[in-house]
């Protein structure tokens, strides 16, 4: 069950409606960890002084605002917290506007508003906003940041979308290619053709049709690589009638190998197959020489981790 990330009340006029805020979306971007390709160990970030290269302890790190190149004003956490917007636990609806008036560009992140112990006034507001087709423009504070938000009614409940502030939207004329469009003329014929083309592709918006195919492809790739060495088939996925006795399976495989050797009897009198890389570090930083017996022979290098059919799964 999702957890509420904020609770408070919607406030407009003299009305107060207690609500909780839930995230309306779960981002499904595939996250990767950075690894050292030679050892598959995790990469760690270090905080070092740009001047001396030495480690900077956490308690010595302060915030600085760059005034001019190299000139900083240091601002302490105490000073900042004194400025924090007062965490009034209200979503203040200042006005109601028509939905079409708000350009989608303003919408940032969507949340569900759920009633907090008082469902009736919540439902009343949701239904009334639905009937009037109005959107409440509101302000509220969450985690020390003041947000602009749109509150609207959808399928009998309320949703809130945080919005970007107008001064956060870049001026399109600052993009030269867009500014140059002003001087171009279009003929009526061209315009008709373009409209016809659009009409021919017109459809109802069905969001279910669209998937993040890149994410799906990445997940499938990971799944395939992981299963290359995943040894325990989930019980449900394995077909019982295909499970064979270990020795029976191996005997067939060994017999096949012996048969292959008979066909190529010359195999097998070469020189030692020393691994290609000798100096390397194990996943935990131990050198090859330390780890294995006969380290002095330099017999076992480590190398860019596993490629091929038995890839290394990330350990996190």
């Amino acid at each position: 069950m999702p957890r509420a990330i904020w609770s408070g009340s919607i406030s407009f006029g003299l009305v107060n409606i207690p609500v909780k805020l839930y995230s309306a979306v779960s981002r499904k971007t595939v996250h990767f960890n950075q690894l050292d390709s030679r050892t598959n160990s995790r990469i760690k970030q270090k905080r070092v002084s740009a001047q001396t290269g030495e480690d900077v302890p956490y308690d010595q790190i302060v915030k600085g605002y760059e005034l001019a190149s190299g000139a900083y004003v240091v601002v302490t956490d105490d000073e900042l917290s004194a400025l924090d917007p007062k965490a009034l636990r209200t979503i203040d609806i200042d006005e109601f506007v028509d939905l079409a008036e708000i350009d989608p560009m303003f919408y940032d992140a969507p949340y569900y508003l759920a009633p907090d112990r008082a469902p009736k006034p919540y439902l009343l507001l949701a239904e009334a906003m639905c009937k009037t087709n109005k959107v409440g423009v509101a302000r509220f504070v969450m985690r020390t940041k003041q947000y602009l938000a749109a509150v609207r009614s959808m399928d009998g409940h309320l949703v809130l979308s945080t919005m970007v502030y107008a001064d956060e939207i870049n001026d399109p004329s600052s993009i030269p290619e867009l500014a140059e469009l002003a001087g171009i003329e279009l003929s009526d014929k061209e315009m008709v053709m373009a409209e016809q083309l659009i009409d021919s592709l017109a459809a109802d918006f069905e969001p279910d049709k669209f998937h993040d195919t890149y994410r799906e492809a990445v997940l499938e790739l990971i799944d395939r690589k992981a299963s290359g060495q995943q040894l325990v088939a989930p019980a449900a996925a394995a077909e019982p009638d295909k499970v064979v006795d270990l020795m029976a399976a191996l005997e067939a495989s060994v017999a096949a190998a012996k048969e292959a050797r008979k066909r190529h009897p010359t195999a097998g009198n070469g020189t030692a197959g020393e691994p290609t890389v000798v100096e390397a570090t194990a996943a935990d930083g131990t050198t090859a020489e330390e780890t294995a017996g006969e380290g002095a022979e330099g017999h076992s290098g480590t190398a860019p981790g596993p490629q091929g059919p038995e890839p290394e799964a990330k350990s996190a």
Partner: protein, 311 residues
């Protein structure tokens, strides 16, 4: 290149999916991954005595012994839930303050049953290396090892000579030694302890013995790592007894051109090797030897011997 196939098998009530059984792991010997797993499945019942309760370090060769390899100490996160793990020693050379504070341990695999060994073999963990101590008592080595590593033109013959000198020296202290091939070029001579000697005691004893050998046989024995001094001599690597070090486990395959095994041998075989007889065994032979001779290395896990008191 063998086709990518997988076979789901039952072994001791566990279900495993084995992959790419036809893949050539030792191309020069035409020895396949199926044969590697077959070897480990057959040797597992005797290997368990030496491997089963220790943190294991894998040397994995996903593309065969001629391909790239990597050490794996941390037990893979995708292991089946029945593969045991134990918190073991991390890196001696801790790189950060957090590591140095002592919390930087590693969860090692502990291959405590046949299915676990087969699982590791299927990961192309061709070599399995173990420390001198069991996982339950990391500071108490159950044995000491003298790793005899020949510097060309010295070879197995010289290693066997040194092993016989070691046997004689420690025999005078009523301590029995057990030799095995490294599976590579050298010999490894083990001193079972199975007593509560701490690691510093064991390590200093091993160093003293090695230095005694060097003093008695200066033209044959070397106790320093420097490779350029090793020409024609045998390096006694006593430092393998350090707690953070591992040595190839008895019955582990080695990633050489042919599927040689770190094979326990008899002292008669070592004597013959000192006379020039070859002393190297490949996986199928090792299975036959164990069937006929039993586990020559069994005393390493059980024989209780006490070192002279530390000075």
């Amino acid at each position: 290149m063998a086709e990518a196939t997988s076979t789901t098998v039952h072994i001791e009530g566990r279900r495993l999916t084995l992959t790419n059984l036809g893949k050539l792991m030792y191309p020069e010997a035409s020895f396949t991954k199926g044969e590697v797993i077959d070897y480990y499945a057959r040797i597992a019942p005797v290997m368990l005595a030496h491997l089963g309760d220790r943190c294991v370090t894998f040397v994995r060769y996903p593309d065969g012994v001629q391909g790239k390899s990597f050490f794996e100490k941390r037990c893979p996160g995708h292991r089946p839930d029945w593969v045991r793990t134990a918190l073991g020693r991390g890196d001696r050379r801790a790189r950060t303050a957090a590591d140095r504070s002592g919390t930087g341990g590693i969860d090692y695999c502990v291959l405590s049953d046949v299915p676990s060994i087969v699982w590791a073999a299927n990961l192309a963990a061709i070599e399995m290396h173990t420390p001198m101590a069991r996982a339950a008592k990391m500071d108490i080595p159950t044995m000491a090892v003298f790793d005899l590593d020949p510097g060309a033109p010295a070879a197995m013959r010289e290693c066997a000579e040194v092993a016989l000198h070691l046997r004689e020296a420690l025999g005078s202290l009523d301590l029995e030694l057990f030799p095995k091939t490294s599976g590579s070029k050298g010999l490894q001579v083990y001193l079972p302890l199975n007593a509560d000697h701490d690691r510093d005691h064991v390590r200093s004893f091993a160093l003293a013995v090695a230095q005694l050998m060097e003093k008695q046989h200066p033209n044959l024995v070397l106790t320093t790592m420097a490779k350029d001094l090793r020409v024609g001599k045998v390096f006694i690597d006593w430092s393998q007894n350090a707690v953070f070090k591992t040595t190839v486990c008895a019955y582990s395959l080695r990633a050489r051109s042919r599927p040689t095994v770190s094979t326990p041998v008899t002292w008669e075989e070592v004597e013959a090797a000192a006379d020039g007889a070859p002393l190297s065994f490949e996986a199928p032979t090792v299975i036959e030897r164990v069937a006929g001779m039993g586990d020559l290395f069994a005393p390493a896990a059980t024989l209780v011997q006490h070192l002279p008191p530390a000075a």
